[in-house]
């Protein structure tokens, strides 16, 4: 439990009170003081004290500790989305750093508790993770480390194929309807009711109903492809019970982490907004100003190719606050095209604070950028889009056009900047093959990674797997049957055409 020094404990109480005064609303925050090695360890585990055994954590740990030993990187802060909320401070940091971290943590915690995209996460994840660890360890003891680890590797290969919005939606009524309406079997007409059970034997009817439901579900699947590939595999792949459990564990953890990835800019921006507000307005002593400024500027520094979520986040929150304080929003503001008037626009409405609290409740990164990134912001922060130039073999600045910047940013944020893949058919060509579809958005997938991943999907599915995608402007069906990898060219997809037919060309 909390092992803070009296000095830190006093700081904690002060900052907690202060954050409440500003209107932040947190779970109870428990700070622990840990050594750099523990910090690296926890960070390698994604903030949790216990995770299931896997070499990937070891790799993270190796990189973090090497980075720390060589003085390249240092983790100041870590906070976990649980209730109560756990946060770690590193032993031996300067007091001003510790105070900054605490203020930052209260910002995160408020965000975890109040942002709607976190509303479905498991707040007892600490226990769940420990539980997962025990289960995986047990499987390893029973079936062998290599066997279980290999399966985990395969699952991790597709852990990003989940439907990040599914926790917030209910199953589409169309699907439900299709399944239920399609399942009524055709009954033979019987004139006499006592003959009914002979003419339409109940077992046969039940069997028919089941069969019809299955067909209807497949149809529904076809009309409504499944974005949650992991769920589809859990339900339909021929997995052993332990494999099913491991896959479910990985899926659970993927869903737990998803909102953090969906709100990275906002979350870091919010926490940075609050640490800077609290530090500069209330906490800092004269002697601490320089160290604070140094540390803060390091946190929000941008480089030409590194996009820094802290920086964009904090600037956007400040920008929103200012605009809403000055009333720079609404019909009147949008329709005004007088530059001078706009520049000195100040209606003194003072809605800034209120607005940013609303924003932190309702938005995620995609909607946040979509709505609040302004041209003025891009110009004053000197943002640009860069592209790879095949001729010079270098990355070059492509444009500073606002629309292009916004499009690029949104592209990077949508689906974590990863290709969108869904399951179209689990009985492709009526041979029990899996058909995945890549919703091509103008950027090809990296072929070698695609092939390796497809191999892993095949290992889980057991039967051949197919993937519809496009490479260099040409539609393709990639197929891996467990032995060889094939790429079959397709003609361009016509409108309303069933994907199944395309392979016949």
């Amino acid at each position: 439990m909390a092992n803070l020094t009296p000095e830190l404990e006093k700081a904690r109480i002060d900052i907690k009170k202060m954050s409440e005064g500003y209107g932040l609303d947190c779970f109870e925050v428990i700070f622990e003081l840990i050594t750099y090695d523990q910090m690296n360890q926890f960070a390698a585990y994604g903030g949790f004290p216990v995770r299931y055994p896997h070499w990937r954590w070891g790799m993270e740990y190796e990189q973090l500790s090497k980075g720390y030993e060589y003085g390249l990187s240092k983790i100041y802060e870590m906070v976990i989305n649980t209730d109560p909320c756990y946060a770690y401070l590193m032993e031996g940091n300067m007091l001003v750093d510790q105070k900054l971290v605490m203020a930052h943590v209260f910002g995160h915690c408020d965000f975890f508790k109040n942002n709607q995209w976190f509303s479905k996460t498991n707040r007892k994840m600490m226990d769940a993770m420990a539980n997962h660890a025990t289960r995986v360890q047990r499987y390893m003891d029973r079936f062998g480390v290599d066997v279980v680890e290999n399966f985990i590797d395969q699952c991790l290969s597709i852990e990003n194929l989940i439907d990040r919005y599914s926790p917030y939606t209910t199953p589409s009524p169309i699907t439900e309807e299709l399944i239920s309406s399609g399942s009524d079997p055709v009954l033979l007409r019987s004139e006499r009711s006592y003959m009914d059970k002979f003419i339409n034997p109940p077992e046969y009817v039940a069997q028919q109903r089941q069969e019809n439901a299955r067909v209807a579900e497949a149809k529904a699947q076809f009309m409504n492809p499944e974005r949650d590939v992991l769920k589809y595999l859990l339900q339909h792949a021929p997995l052993k019970p332990w494999q099913q459990d491991v896959l479910a564990i990985i899926r659970d953890e993927a869903y737990y982490v998803a909102p953090q990835a969906m709100t990275k800019i906002m979350n870091e921006g919010w926490a940075s907004y609050w640490h800077s507000t609290m530090m500069t307005q209330r906490i800092l002593t004269d002697a601490e100003v320089i160290d604070y400024a140094d540390h803060h500027s390091g946190t929000v520094a941008m480089s030409p190719t590194r996009f820094n979520p802290y920086k964009v986040g904090i600037e956007l929150f400040r920008d929103i606050e200012e605009r809403w304080n000055k009333g720079q929003f609404g019909k009147e503001w949008t329709e005004c095209d007088n530059f001078d008037e706009k520049r000195t626009w100040d209606k003194k409405v003072g809605l800034g604070r209120q607005k940013i609290f609303e924003v932190r409740r309702d938005y995620n990164d995609v909607t946040f950028i979509d709505e609040f990134l302004t041209e003025e912001f891009c110009v004053s922060n000197r943002l640009f889009v860069y592209k790879y130039n095949k001729k010079t073999q270098k990355y070059e600045i492509d444009t500073r056009d606002f629309k292009a910047i916004k499009a690029q940013l949104l592209f990077q944020l949508t689906n974590w900047g990863q290709p969108i893949i869904d399951v179209v058919d689990g009985n492709f060509e009526n041979r029990g093959e899996l058909l995945l579809r890549h919703l091509h958005e103008g950027v090809d997938m990296q072929p070698d990674y695609m092939f390796e991943t497809l191999k892993n999907v095949q290992a889980i599915w057991g039967r051949p797997v197919n993937l519809l995608t496009a490479m260099e402007g040409e539609a393709k069906l990639c197929r891996y049957d467990g032995q060889e990898f094939k790429e079959l060219p397709l003609r361009p997809l016509g409108k309303g055409e069933e994907p199944e037919e395309k392979t016949k060309t």
Binding site: P6, Q41, A44, Y45, P53, H54, W55, R56, W57, G58, M59, Y61, E62, E149, L156, S157, I158, N160, L161, A261, K264, M302, S303, P304, T305, R306, F307, N308, P309, V312, L383, F384, V385, Y386, K387, Y388, Y395, E396, I397, D398, T399, R400, I405, L409, Q412, L413, W416, G417, Q418, P419, H438, V443, D444, M445, Q446, D448, Y449, E452, K455, N456
Partner: protein, 365 residues
């Protein structure tokens, strides 16, 4: 459970990767050029779990700074952090492997036995180790932590410690210093004497083979002997001692008198390496075309009556050259059937280097 387990698992996997490619490294000599001080850099692909992902070149990204469209962007390219969620690195991780580890990996891979230093061939060395703590000493050796702890103990026991204002002031009595002990350690000494035929028939490829092979032999012997010494002799019709660089770069023409090298080797051993203190490993590489059979007879005599009695083992590697392989190795094998001390090996090409190393070192002398 714990990070320790995962960490060693990761290291095993990494080592496994090195192992898989090990023969490739040996035969291609890729990393010899990269050695820095004690370490050899081995590039290891960051173990990346494959995902469906976009190719980086089409994607581009968003950045910040000055510059006109068309200007190159500095720094590491690729989508930035803001892509929310961690992007697995594209970079290649270079893992530092020390010579020691390298030798160990090679030993494991080629199943080499540990070398047993010969009987009394060790001398004693005196080392100083800072293991103790004493209440007096020079300021430069002050042990801060121990001093602090003493002061803390004292201030708690006299009741002057205030948890709300934990200021500790050490007085003279609290000061603690590191102190040393002398440790006597037996140390095995070893010298490797490399001899190479640089006559006209030894081409660049042959020398490269010798270079690669001696690199690995050196790594293995260094693993067993701290402070391993190396000497280099080149010969055609006459022999001379050279430094390492010359050894690998010289090309002479002319005939071959192997006895000249063996004579020089004998001289070096007799003058500088008393056999009761040193483990001695001569390695000789040649294409086996000795000038005359009389000289070969003389070499056999030298070996039999002198060198073999002094050394741990004598290794002869015959490199196949474009003129084929000479007679010398056969002569040696006939003269010393089943000798424990004389080991011969044929190196037909680069890919045979690991086997040849195994020939030489699997005796464990």
């Amino acid at each position: 459970m714990g990070i320790g387990q995962d960490h060693s698992r990761f290291k095993d996997i990494v080592k496994g990767r090195i192992k898989e490619n090990f023969r490739r490294y040996i035969t291609h000599g890729e990393m010899i050029g990269k050695q820095e001080n004690e370490y050899v850099k081995i590039p290891i692909p960051h173990i990346d779990i494959p995902r469906f992902k976009y190719g980086p070149k089409q994607q581009g990204g968003m950045g910040q700074g000055t510059g006109q469209p068309g200007d190159a962007v500095d720094g590491e390219a690729g989508p930035g952090k803001g892509e929310a969620g961690d992007v697995p690195g594209e970079h290649v991780l270079e893992v530092d492997v020390s010579f020691d580890e390298l030798a160990e990996i090679m030993g494991e891979e080629l199943q080499l036995p540990k070398i047993q230093p010969k009987g009394h061939k060790s001398i004693e060395t005196i080392q100083t180790k800072y293991t103790g703590i004493s209440p007096a000493g020079p300021e430069s050796l002050r042990h801060f932590k121990k001093t602090y702890r003493e002061a803390l103990k004292r201030s708690i026991s006299v009741g002057s410690y205030d948890p709300d204002n934990p200021v500790i002031i050490p007085i003279k009595k609290d000061l603690r210093y590191k102190s040393y002990k002398t440790v006597v350690k037996p140390q095995a000494n070893a010298v490797v004497i490399y001899m190479m035929d640089v006559s006209g028939s030894m081409g660049d490829e042959q020398k490269e083979i010798v270079r690669l092979e001696s690199f690995w032999i050196n790594a293995w012997l260094k693993h067993h002997y701290k402070g391993l010494q190396t000497r280099f002799i080149i010969h055609d019709a006459g022999a001379k001692e050279v430094d390492e660089k010359t050894f690998f770069s010289t090309s002479e023409s002319g005939g071959t008198l192997i006895s000249s090298a063996y004579n020089l080797c004998k001289k070096i051993v007799d003058e500088e390496y008393p056999i009761h203190e040193w483990n001695i490993y001569p390695f000789h590489f040649s294409d086996g075309d000795n000038w005359s059979s009389e000289d070969t007879q003389y070499c056999v005599k030298l070996l039999k009556e002198d060198l073999l009695l002094k050394v741990n083992m004598f290794c002869y590697g015959q490199v196949e050259s474009k003129y084929g392989s000479g007679q010398f190795i056969k002569d040696l094998e006939e003269a010393f059937p089943e000798s424990e001390e004389l080991i011969t090996s044929r190196i037909e090409g680069r890919s045979k280097i690991p086997d040849s190393i195994k020939d030489f070192l699997s005796k464990g002398n």
